[in-house]
């Protein structure tokens, strides 16, 4: 089985007394084992709800979600599913349980009932892999947002999940913290082979992913490699997303008659494109 998560025709709605609002509408997606998928969407596109559906925090109203072959609706496999699919939320302050870094990271494995030695080993390992081992004895309260979010990631890693779902993990961070988190996630995916589902509305974060999915009103409106997605400016604007400045520049050059490719994202590649389009020497 090479899909870690299979979402099959899922519909989800919130209901308030008399009215109900459909947030996810007949939605299907497969997440490949070891892949790095980015789910993009503006506020209210249903992306946070989707995240919570993926590990069984919310149950679908219609359709099924299979994690490693287990249905999230099945209550007997609830812990097994949460163990496989870890979740990191937006606000690091609201995810940390204990007042000492290493004690917080230990919270997950402690719940799993592992032996104290095994817990210790996992805590040290996870703190090292997010680069927070030196600060293991300090209080999260005195750390920066990026550091706190890395502790939250370590807390999930300590349960040794196969997949991590991150729901806008950088939304509350400054640019420096944002970079820390993205490079940490990329490293985990590359080096430890952990499947990553990154939910965000920052286009730049999708740059190095395998697959980008654009969500609007609870359904997929585009699915492809980041390059394919970014070159489709009209679709991005329709989904209410900010087009990366580089792509926007290339696109405008093209509409003004310059012969140029528009499917590059990074600043360096864009610069090279412009140099070659205008036959300039790079210096």
């Amino acid at each position: 089985m090479d899909n870690i998560i299979e979402v099959k025709n899922v519909t989800f709605e919130y209901s308030d007394f008399d009215r109900s609002k459909t947030v996810i509408n007949d939605f299907s997606i497969d997440i490949k084992r070891g892949s790095f998928t980015c789910i993009l969407g503006h506020n209210g596109s249903g992306k946070s709800t989707l995240a919570k559906l993926l590990n069984g925090l919310y149950k679908p109203v219609k359709g099924d979600i299979l994690v490693d072959g287990m249905n999230t609706k099945d209550e007997t496999t609830e812990i097994a599913i949460k163990r496989r699919v870890g979740m990191v939320f937006q606000n690091p302050d609201n995810q940390l349980v204990a007042s000492i870094v290493e004690e917080d990271v230990a919270f997950g494995p402690e719940n799993l009932g592992l032996s104290p030695d095994e817990i210790r080993k996992r805590v040290d390992e996870s703190l090292k892999s997010v680069g927070m081992y030196e600060l293991r004895k300090s209080t999260p309260h005195h750390l920066s947002g990026g550091q706190k979010q890395r502790i939250a990631i370590a807390g999930i890693l300590a349960m040794r999940p196969q997949c991590i779902v991150l729901d806008e993990p950088t939304a509350m961070l400054d640019p420096k913290g944002r970079k820390e988190i993205i490079s940490t996630i990329e490293k985990l995916n590359r080096e430890s082979g952990i499947t990553v589902v990154l939910i965000t509305h920052f286009m730049e974060e999708a740059e190095n992913t395998d697959r980008a999915v654009v969500l609007n009103d609870g359904s997929i409106i585009a699915d492809g490699t980041p390059k394919e997605i970014f070159s489709n400016i009209d679709m991005l604007k329709r989904a209410g997303l900010d087009v990366p400045q580089t792509t926007e520049l290339l696109h405008r050059l093209k509409t003004n008659g310059v012969d140029i490719k528009t499917n590059v994202i990074s600043i360096k590649e864009t610069a090279q494109e412009i140099y070659s389009a205008f036959h300039l020497e790079e210096n």
Binding site: V97, A98, E110, L112, P116
Partner: protein, 269 residues
């Protein structure tokens, strides 16, 4: 002002007090506080003060942190002292205002009471500064675990978990309160002036957003805990196994010696 609240904060270190088992620290603290409240004369107060000073020095926590805690509690100490000055009618009458008389017995009592509270605060600070909140709640959970025999198994774990979370969120909520206060001040809210009733009314726009945000945080935390496989106390393990060492035996011996001395000077002599 709000930043002075250091209750339950841990000061990272590796002193002998830090290395004591949290159960030892908690039990001995309770024992010593009881004995401090039994002290009635100067000599035993001197012994108690020396004992507390030793604990403070061995803890290697900066003195200013203890002073900070005392500063926060100072109004209560002064208030208790004033009440005690007027209470009782032993000793020589010093002076009287209206129908209240102050006599030497009252002065002694006021000084003793102030000293007792002071020592109590300092000793409790030694405990909280040298023990991580998790260790402390683990200790409470273990010490209360006999309650499970009378059908309160879940209650003990829940209480301990609630304390862990409460201690964890004190600094977060203090920070939040400051933010809200500043936001309301920026909109022209006047928090410092006016009559008492007006000032109490001015707190409403601070407390309501604070409450709403605390509830929202609680929801998010509950979801995050669920994602980390939290399922109550059932089958939970601890990373740190609490273990008594020689240090605990020594600390226990010293504390019992202290209690013995207090008894000696209060009862026998």
């Amino acid at each position: 002002m709000l930043r002075d609240i250091t209750f339950g904060q841990y000061f990272q270190g590796n002193s002998k007090v830090h290395r004591l088992d949290p159960r030892t620290k908690l039990l001995l603290l309770i024992l010593i506080i009881v004995f401090i409240f039994l002290t009635q004369n100067m000599i035993s107060f001197l012994i108690a003060t020396v004992f507390t000073a030793c604990a403070v020095i061995i803890s290697k926590v900066p003195l200013r942190l203890y002073l900070k805690n005392l500063k926060a509690i100072l109004p209560i100490i002064i208030f208790t002292a004033i009440i005690n000055v007027f209470y009782g009618n032993e000793g020589k009458v010093l002076f009287s205002i209206f129908r209240l008389t102050v006599n030497t017995g009252g002065v002694y009592r006021a000084v003793f009471m102030a000293l007792r509270i002071l020592l109590l605060i300092v000793l409790s600070s030694v405990l909280t500064y040298t023990t991580t909140p998790n260790d402390l709640t683990d200790a409470i959970e273990i010490l209360l675990s006999p309650l499970k025999f009378i059908g309160l198994k879940n209650a003990v774990h829940t209480l301990a978990m609630m304390m862990t979370i409460a201690l964890r969120f004190i600094p977060t909520l203090v920070e939040e309160t400051e933010k809200i206060m500043n936001a309301q001040k920026a909109r022209g809210a006047d928090l410092e002036n006016g009559k008492l009733t007006e000032r109490i009314k001015a707190l409403v726009p601070i407390l309501i957003p604070l409450l709403i945000s605390a509830v929202r945080r609680a929801y998010e935390l509950a979801e995050a805990m669920e994602c980390r496989c939290y399922n109550g106390g059932e089958g939970r393990q601890r990373m740190k196994k609490l273990q008594f060492t020689l240090l605990d035996v020594i600390a226990g011996f010293v504390s019992f010696l202290f209690c013995g001395l207090i008894i000696l000077f209060n009862v026998v002599i």
